[in-house]
Assembly symmetry: C2
Homo-oligomer: 156 residues x 2
DNA sequence: TACCGTGAGTTCGGATTTCCTACTCACCGG
DNA sequence: CCGGTGAGTAGGAAATCCGAACTCACGGTA
């Protein structure tokens, strides 16, 4: 059997089709950090300039970034996150937390996010409805399209 | 200036180096859903078999998945998430929530995750220390390595 | 026994992407 | 006039990805 031509319909896949290409999420990281200029992005991300240009176009088209002039004469631009872009920050936070936890010995975190409460941020995903921390065992997947089953009873 | 050879040290980048290749997070999605067999993965993800084989090896090496036999004679395997793999689920949840919100008109969500509280899951990222929902403006980035500044005052 | 089907991959050549280096173009400051 | 900066584009080599076909071990069935 070949790779199916119509895989499971899924918002994860759709989102990754927009921001899952190499470097895209790092662009978003820098832009959220306030480093939105082209050469800053090149330096801080380490991506070739041409891919960066391609990624930026795509992210702007998708409404995740906007390209704003910060100086006329000479024309200079800066990329900034839109509201939709900012709403992707939780993805970055959870990725960073995972990397800090699993890829590094403690004490060598390359960056700490400080929350307004004064503590270093440890992000926790909770349920909007009940407020509890979400754990794998507490989830049941309900595919809405026919034919797309899920095998595990405690599926997520 | 060329693409810098030493970009910003960052756990987001490190994590993406492991799970950011094409299809990797979809593998994790299926495995978390309980669909851990090779041909299920091929069908549900829509990736070529050889790439899937490569991704699976990499994810197993990284300790995100384990390859477990579910039948001797004939030998048959199933991939399952490790604890570390399960800890990546928040990334999937936030990606899915974003896609549902921004890429689809309401009412056509391809999958709903039901939380044990009985409601459809709407994931919210909160601060472990104070419990509040984390918002962009409440974060301050503190790079730990020298030279890696952040320009915005309200950087995240 | 012969044959077909399934699970779990591997192999192959070709199509895409990415990468790297260099180049452009517009402007500014001295 | 000269060098530097910001924001890219151009071109070819290198790495990845893709689709289809092939393997191999087994199990069922007729």
């Amino acid at each position: 059997m070949a790779a199916s031509k119509d895989p499971r319909p899924c918002s994860i896949a759709d989102t990754l089709a927009l921001v899952g290409e190499k470097h895209s999420l790092l662009v978003l990281r820098e832009v959220c950090l306030g480093n939105g200029r082209f050469d800053q992005l090149v330096r801080n991300i380490g991506a070739p300039r041409d891919i960066l240009a391609t990624r930026l176009r795509r992210l702007v088209d998708a409404g995740i970034l906007v390209k704003q002039p910060y100086s006329e004469r000479p024309q200079r631009f800066e990329y900034r996150p839109t509201q939709a872009g900012l709403e992707l920050e939780p993805v970055l936070m959870t990725l960073m937390a995972w990397g800090d936890r699993h890829l590094r010995g403690d004490g060598d975190r390359p960056m700490v996010l400080e929350h307004s409460c004064g503590q270093a941020l440890a992000p926790v995903v909770t349920c909007r409805a009940c407020g509890d921390e979400v754990r794998h065992e507490d989830l049941t997947a309900r595919p809405q399209a026919p034919g797309w089953t899920v095998t595990g009873p405690t599926a997520a």
